[in-house]
Symmetry: C2
Subunit: 129 residues, 2 copies
């Protein structure tokens, strides 16, 4: 496998992602990282996000809105998606890994894991009529 070489661009991307708790998309990462490096290309952002996700330094989120979101927090946790404003936030809750037992009960193959996210209206959108 190819040895990883340092890249200023990758560092900027990772650093930016670590400042955010809102799980930005590649395009939002791109538009923000450009403030530090106006000549960075969108392809570089995508390539590095994919690379970082592949080596486990960040995680890629698919919440069904047609765009991938990225998260610098790779610890297991759940996400909430607001159907009103589209925001994606962390959801503080106990692990529900035990649902794997339930799923494995009558299944022939091998269940490695699960993907769960919750949806509804966020605090903001719920309190604005």
């Amino acid at each position: 496998m190819a040895t990883l070489k340092y890249s200023r661009q990758r560092e900027l991307i990772k650093d930016f992602l670590m400042t955010r708790k809102d799980h930005p998309t590649a395009d939002i990462v791109y538009r923000n990282v450009r403030k530090q490096n106006p000549s960075i290309s969108l392809g570089t952002v995508y390539r590095n996000l994919t690379l970082l996700a592949d080596i486990g330094e960040i995680s890629r989120l698919n919440v069904g809105d047609g765009v991938d979101h990225f998260d610098a927090d790779t610890s297991p946790h759940y996400h909430f998606v607001c159907t009103e404003c589209g925001s994606v936030t962390d959801l503080e809750m106990d692990s529900i890994e035990n649902i794997l037992e339930t799923a494995r009960a009558n299944f022939e193959g091998h269940i490695a894991g699960h993907v769960t996210h919750f949806y509804g209206t966020c605090s903001n959108c719920t309190h604005v009529s």
Copy 2:
């Protein structure tokens, strides 16, 4: 709202979907429905799948593989995605709706529901080395 008018194409699409338990994509629906009606267009398939999903006659599945899948069975149930062959199958298991309680525990907004699917290797792919 516009009144729904009968369409032979829509009927074909719904009928085809009801014969399948493997949650086909729009393109697979298209390729199959063309056997009955060779002049149907892909746009018509997409439009009707979206329409049927909007009125709740079918459901649209997003299992993170970049393509939407469709299911004529709209009753609540869970899905399994094989990371080896990409197949999407139904997973017979007890409801885990109770995870909503867990999720709502410390949340400010309103949680309407959850999306969960499981992944791993299906029966076939598990037993083939």
